[in-house]
């Protein structure tokens, strides 16, 4: 299985660490909403088909990635930075080139 890291390009799955289901929403750390914490910790969609999940390129650039992968075929349809704040290197250079 190859995962194409936006920074590093296509790399073998052994370079990555699986961080699990990317659909879960972590409640605010101060939250005392028991149900929300319970859902975050224990409940999983576990779909047979496209799965929204988090991988870390731990053996490479260490970026956290949001990957959409098919759990029936292992086919990967999209890879993006887990945080929307990141930009791909090319885009960042372009921004820096501006006077």
């Amino acid at each position: 299985m190859l995962i194409t890291c936006p920074y590093c390009g296509p790399r073998d799955v052994i370079e990555y660490t699986y961080q699990g289901d990317g659909n879960r929403e972590r409640p605010d750390p101060a939250s005392q909403n028991f149900e929300a914490w319970n859902a975050y910790v224990y409940d999983r969609l576990n779909p047979a088909g496209d799965h929204n999940e988090i991988w870390q390129h731990s053996g490479g650039c260490r970026a956290h990635l949001r990957v959409v992968r098919n759990t029936l075929t292992h086919e990967i349809s999209s890879v993006a930075f887990a945080s929307g704040d990141h930009h791909a290197p090319a885009a960042r250079r372009k921004a820096e080139d501006k006077p």
Binding site: M1, D12, V13, I14, Y18, G20, D21, N38, A39, V41, Y42, D43, R44, L45, N46, P47, A48, H51, E53, R69, T71, L72, T73, H74
Partner: protein, 419 residues
């Protein structure tokens, strides 16, 4: 009257083996049953068997999407043991062990249960202490366990690299002598025949496509062979739990489906006569009666419904095998395959009434469901028949996560890929 005996073997041999009755019928589904069991694997079949035998409920259908025993009951590495730490697990798996010990006789079907022992190797003093603790916990509840020294281990498994030069030197081990292996297909076939002879309909190639409802209550299933109604619908589908529960409108479960690979080598002369596990990684191996070494390791570690895995785990399992048995370097691997495991959030199973009215649920076996087959069916049948759990499966509820009563034998937390 036993169907298989020395006399019946002889009589049928003389007649050219043409008169054997099929082990189970191929009935068409009826319009309704008292109980429908979804999933014709080991657990579904043993549930049907004990429903009929222990509780007299024989108007039962087992619905299997593929052919009987095509899932994990025919894909596991056949180890049977009850060497757990936590009392809930120990009691349940020891009950299973006791059922295993009489299973061939009970079913009149040779499941080739071989109590060849299961040895967990320790490679650090801390690990050895941990095994001593687990062994004491087991003995406290009446389960056999003994600590072994490297010299004793060397006598038991001469091929094991027990030298101080090994990458991870062996400093001792925890042995359960009553543990062992069984012929996995025979378990499915034996339970199937036993259930069939008591009147259970085993319906293969019958895929459940949805649930019928009567108000809030589950009142049957829609299948590729038509609608079937039932007072009680039991789900025992292991790795497919998420898919089946979604059909019933249960969106999330404390379960992730992961793929576990297993391997077998070409046949060798007798090499090891026990089940051995590696303590510095995840590796277990035994030798089948046919001579092949049957072994496996960790799950691949990401959600998967594909019954095939990836190469990194193959590489890791082979490395661990060679760390223990350098002499196997030139042995050829014959086959590898994968099965889909229902990894629960604490590594322990779920056998319960609900979660919907009219429904009963059996899942969360992680990759250890084979050894549980008899007790799982026995407890699930009890739960279905009496609408309440037996004391053996009372801790294995679905809401234990919600209530903070997790049974986390390995202490890994809510991280299914690490259990």
């Amino acid at each position: 009257m036993a169907e298989y005996s020395a006399l019946s073997l002889l009589a049928n041999a003389l007649k050219g083996n043409k008169d054997w009755k099929p082990a189970w019928r191929k009935p068409d589904p009826k319009a309704s049953y008292d109980v429908i069991i979804i999933g014709g694997g080991g657990h579904g079949l043993s549930t049907a068997y004990y429903l009929a035998k222990e509780h007299g409920i024989t108007n039962v259908a087992v619905l299997e999407k593929g052919w009987l025993g095509s899932g994990n009951v025919g894909r596991n590495t056949t180890a049977v043991r009850s060497n757990y730490l936590l009392p809930a697990n120990t009691r349940f798996y020891e009950h299973s062990m006791k059922l295993w010990e009489n299973l061939s006789h009970e079913l009149n079907y040779n499941v080739m249960f071989s109590q060849r022992g299961c040895l967990n190797l320790a490679h650090t003093p801390a690990q050895f202490d941990d095994y001593a603790r687990r062994g004491n916990a087991m003995r406290h509840l009446g389960v056999d366990a003994e600590l072994m020294t490297p010299a004793e281990i060397k006598r038991l498994i001469p091929a094991l690299d027990i030298s101080g030069d090994a990458r991870f030197p062996v400093i001792g081990g925890l042995m359960q002598r009553r543990a062992g292996t069984a012929r996995h297909d025979a378990v499915a076939w034996g339970y199937a025949r036993g259930a069939d002879r008591r009147g259970v309909d085993i319906i293969e190639n019958c895929e459940v496509t949805g649930f019928l409802r009567d108000g809030d209550r589950i009142s049957g299933v829609t299948t590729s062979r038509g609608d079937i109604r039932a007072r009680k619908v039991a789900v025992a589908v292991a790795g497919s739990t998420g898919r089946v529960m979604q059909m019933a409108g249960v969106e999330t479960m404390p379960i992730e489906s992961h793929v576990l690979q297993a391997f077998v080598t070409e046949s060798l002369k007798p090499f090891i006569d026990t089940v051995v596990t590696f303590g510095m990684g995840h590796f277990y191996m035994s030798q089948s009666d046919k001579g092949g070494l049957v072994y496996g390791g960790d799950i691949d570690g990401y959600n998967s419904y594909a019954q095939r895995g990836n190469l990194p785990i193959v590489d890791e399992v082979m490395s661990e095998m060679l760390a223990l048995f350098p002499g196997l370097g030139r042995v050829r691997m014959l086959r590898s395959w994968g099965g889909v495991c229902d990894m629960s959030m604490d590594g322990s199973p779920i056998i319960t009434t609900g979660p919907l009215p009219g429904m009963y649920l059996n899942c969360g076996w992680c990759y250890g469901g084979f050894k549980a087959t008899p007790a799982s069916g026995w407890c699930f049948a009890w739960t279905i028949a009496k609408d309440q759990p037996h004391e053996f499966n009372a801790p294995f509820t679905l809401d234990r996560f919600h209530r903070g009563l997790v049974i986390d034998d390995k202490g890994q937390g809510a991280n299914p890929r690490l259990h």
